[in-house]
């Protein structure tokens, strides 16, 4: 039994290294592809080489006869589930969903779409047989450009639709009552600028390729999946396959990264389950990286047309956002909702009196899109932070001063934005001032100006990005109002064991975030039990039966609070038992450091002793159930709103166009921090991903719809040599919407860094008449922008009474 006299140290706030590490650093991980089950078959998929084509014939005869092959199936063999891959976010009542077959039947709609599957004794045998499947295609028009897809008379991606538009989702602050009318704001505007920003297509690129093992079991099955969403997946598999939910078990063991990329129900998951059930044998599918890049969902891919108006002294008066969002060929699980989530974040941290947002979801013959780290919020932050810089240039004011003038002041919280969100707390001034100091901003500005004056071939650019995001997804009633197909609550149970140890079950499902460590720190403090005596259980629908999983920085802000609530219930029950055993009134008991003490005496009982008494049940209060455990569910009242200020200094070699990130500093305010070590890690990783969007990563299709960035040779993830060390700092403005005062950090770095970098690049290039650069800002694009003025400038203000200098593009022919 635990030495109950050991009062645990204060855990929350400690930079404790992770308990998750031990098995990962010694090679004893439980990633799905490590699994071997007796008699297991291996699957390989035949994937379309065509972007858009009718399938006229599939000849599987040679493949079927190959050694080790148990079965070859095509889409026709799974007709019972065709069209049934779920989309859980029908954002408008009239959203067009053409259906999403797990295996194509008559037609393929993007390169890499699966058309047949082989089950064989070994993976090699399955892959060999896949090579022997012959598919005859009759080409259809390739549709890659979103605007061409929406044009009158455009060829259709799906024959069962009447246009390539899936939906139009709109918000208007005038109609919603949260602000004024944009047309009115624009009609009297002193300055109005319009910009088009492109969110290039990205690929989440988790390091662990997706992997699934299915063990068929009677009416149901057990699925081991490299997934972020074991609980949602269980429901969706049950509905998709018509299996009784209580016979379906989903296990997410070690999961090698997600970043939103493992948030869907995939065709490969469904097919692995179907094949396993058809053959009555366990089956495994693990994708190759090239399969992953072409068939796992992509992210971003939006055209953003932004118009902003202001007074000539720099007060923003209106914002209009028109998005075109590429859904790819199919509607993925939450894909349509990604831009809708972003809609609420365009006004960002600014007091904008009128706001309108319209988004068109479009089908093209490309891989589907869905959540990618930040999901809608990075896109929104990019657009608003870029246009703030453009407005500053138009007005001839410092970009930072324009921001200061327009942001919500510390004393104005809580503040309801024009998008209808109520920000509970924030202190943009404090974070910004701290970041400027840490960065050495003034010295950098002096260096930049000197290099400009010297006409150096190594120009310096400085970029700012402030941001807020909505974390803690989400109040269920809000999700309901957005037609999201689930609630936003989270659940936890806490079990005190007879020996004084504690098992905590959570419905979130981490994949690298370190929740076993941070949650145990929370429980240790709240329950007064040593950290090492607490186990966190997650990721298996048998042992953690209820939950809504991990995405959108909701784990701590929702899941962590459910844990706190469950602990509170345990403590409340323990108090009753303690009062009974100590023959004291509950009101006379203090609870601190795990001990219930009778006020004014040295009498007391440790909670572990009470747990033992509750297990023995020899002497409990009348009518009380034995055991000391509880379950709680938390449905947040509001989102949380972390914020921060990010600063970037880039050096541009004007001879080569090379952009080097010299210095990066961010100060994030995520409220209270449970484990600063984990917070830093999340920020670093997020920064790398956001910087990569600005400088390195882009999914590119050729004219035939082939993904030309289909391997890690071509899709450029940043390496250690591509990045500097980051300067990070924190301010602490606790959330008022939850008892821990936490806000969420998983996406912050990604959201804020992309615009900070591009603002820095444009800052360096503006002297050459350039006011935009397409991402990623590759050496070629930057060089062209400097030397030929090719395609990287946008029109100046539509109408302006303000004097502007240095922003005219009149000398930029061909732009």
């Amino acid at each position: 039994m635990t030495a109950v006299d050991d009062h645990p140290a204060h855990e929350v706030g400690q930079a404790r290294p992770r308990r998750e590490d031990q098995h990962l650093i010694t090679g004893h991980s439980t990633f799905v592809d490590n699994m071997q089950l007796a008699g297991m078959l291996h699957l390989a998929f035949v994937r379309s080489s065509m972007a858009h084509a009718k399938i006229t014939n599939i000849d599987v005869s040679e493949a079927q006869g190959r050694p080790g092959v148990h079965a070859v199936y095509t889409g026709k063999d799974f007709a019972e589930v065709q069209g049934n891959l779920p989309c859980a976010w029908p954002v408008t009542p009239d959203m067009v969903n053409p259906g999403y077959p797990s295996l194509a039947i008559d037609q393929v709609n993007h390169v890499g779409e699966a058309v047949a599957v082989i089950a064989a004794r070994t993976k090699a045998a399955a892959e060999d047989a896949a090579e022997a499947v012959l598919v005859d295609y009759e080409p259809l028009p390739v549709i890659l450009d979103m605007e061409e897809a929406l044009a009158e008379g455009a060829p259709l991606v799906h024959a069962n639709t009447t246009s390539n538009k899936s939906y139009t989702w709109a918000f208007d602050s005038g109609q919603a009552g949260s602000g004024g009318n944009v047309d009115d704001a624009f009609s009297g505007a002193e300055v109005k600028i319009k910009r088009r920003f492109i969110q290039q297509r990205l690929i989440p690129s988790f390091m662990e390729p997706r992997s699934y093992v299915v063990q068929p079991e009677g009416e149901g099955l057990t699925l081991w999946s490299a997934t972020q969403i074991p609980h949602i997946l269980r429901i969706m598999l049950s509905l998709t396959l018509g299996l009784p939910e209580h016979k379906v078990r989903v296990i997410a063991p070690d999961v090698g990264g997600g970043f939103g990329g493992k948030i869907t129900v995939t065709p490969e998951e469904v097919i692995t389950a179907l094949v396993a059930r058809k053959l009555g044998k366990p089956c495994k599918f693990t994708e190759s990286r090239s399969e992953s890049l072409v068939s796992a969902h992509h992210g971003r891919d939006q055209i953003q047309d932004i118009t902003m108006s202001a007074t000539k002294d720099g007060t923003i008066t209106g914002l209009d956002v028109e998005l075109t969002a590429n859904m790819g060929a199919y509607l993925s699980l939450v894909g349509p909702g990604v831009p809708v989530l972003g809609a609420f974040m365009f006004p960002a941290i600014y007091k904008i009196p009128a706001y309108r947002f319209t988004c068109h979801g479009v089908f093209t013959t490309t891989t589907k899109t869905d959540a990618y780290r930040g999901a809608g919020r990075p896109e929104a932050t990019y657009a608003i932070e870029r246009i703030m810089d453009e407005m500053a240039a138009e007005l001839g004011v410092d970009p930072l001063e324009l921001r200061r003038k327009n942001w919500i002041k510390h004393e104005e919280f809580p503040y309801t934005t024009v998008a209808g969100l109520t920000y509970d707390s924030g202190n943009y001034e404090a974070a910004t001032d701290k970041a400027l100091e840490l960065m050495g901003w003034d010295a950098l500005k002096a260096d930049r100006d000197k290099r400009r004056a010297d006409k150096s071939t190594k120009q310096l650019g400085l970029g700012i990005s402030t941001f807020t995001e909505m974390c803690g997804l989400a109040p269920s009633r809000v999700l309901g109002s957005l037609d999201y197909g689930a609630g936003g609550w989270e659940t936890s149970s806490v079990r005190m064991l007879p020996t004084g140890k504690v098992e905590v079950v959570t419905g979130i499902s981490p994949h690298g975030q370190g929740h076993e460590t941070s949650f145990a720190q929370i429980v240790s403090d709240q329950l007064g039990v040593p950290y090492d005596d607490i186990e966190i259980i997650h990721g298996d629908t048998a042992s953690a039966p209820r939950g809504l999983d991990t995405y959108g920085s909701r784990s701590l802000t929702v899941g962590g609070i459910a844990v706190v609530k469950a602990v509170d219930k345990v403590v409340a029950k323990a108090r009753k038992i303690a009062a009974h055993l100590l023959e004291a009134s509950e009101d006379d008991l203090d609870f601190a450091g795990g001990k219930f003490g009778v006020k004014g005496t040295d009498k007391g009982l440790m909670i572990q002793e009470i747990a033992f008494a509750a297990f023995m049940a020899h002497d409990l209060p009348e009518g009380m159930e034995p055991s000391l455990d509880s379950e709680a569910t938390f449905d947040p009242e509001n989102f949380s709103f972390p914020h921060g200020t990010h600063l970037a200094a880039v050096e541009i070699d004007t001879d080569t166009g090379q952009v080097e990130l010299l210095k990066y500093c961010c100060v994030d305010d995520i409220g209270n921090q449970i484990n600063p070590l984990l917070v830093q890690g999340q920020v670093h990783g997020g920064l790398a991903q956001g910087i990569a969007q600005a400088l390195f990563e882009e999914a590119v299709y050729d004219a035939d719809g082939n993904l030309t960035t289909g391997t890690f040779v071509d899709y450029t993830l940043p390496s250690s040599a591509d990045l500097p060390s980051f300067i990070t700092g924190s301010t602490y403005t606790p959330a008022t919407s939850n008892p821990l005062g936490v806000k969420g950090v998983g996406e912050a770095g990604t959201i804020a860094s992309t615009p900070a970098i591009i603002n820095a690049v444009v800052d360096a290039l503006r002297q050459y008449g350039v006011n935009d650069i397409h991402m990623p800002a590759t050496p070629e694009r930057v060089w062209r922008a400097i030397h030929s003025g090719f395609g990287d400038t946008q029109p100046a203000a539509e109408q302006t009474t303000a004097h502007t200098e240095g922003t005219s593009n009149s000398d930029r022919s061909g732009s």
Binding site: I25, E208, G256, G257
Partner: protein, 160 residues
Amino acid sequence: MPKISVTVDGVTNEDDVEPRQLLVHYLRETLGKTGTLVGCDTSNCGACTVHLDGKAVKSCTVLAVQADGSDVLTIEGLAKDGVLHPMQQAFHEKHALQCGYCTPGMIMASIDFVNTNGKSDPTEQEVREGIEGNLCRCTGYQNIVAAVQYAAKTMSSTGA
């Protein structure tokens, strides 16, 4: 099928292998050494890095038959008698891993870097260039670099 004899983590194995089988698949599938992971098909990610006769190699670029007669060290053979290698310890203490998928390869590559570099105090830039063949999507590398620098000190003082 060719027969090979390979010593892996101190144990000598004799197996028949397909000529086309890669070392990583031999380690994972034949020997059950699943600590070594596969992250790409183009030798870019380095998740499969092991030591072959004392040098880091991406085991997806080595055929199993090429390892015949060799000594292979994997992540599973690194800790001795339950004592972590200084690089493993450093990765833990410096929070140099999140999802942990790139970690075995990153640790093996980092050890080879320190051994090859030979200094107890490699610069940040030396470390960054030394391990750039291994990709990580979670950490942004900052803590990995810190861990390698920290481990380099310990390794030089303990001779690990």
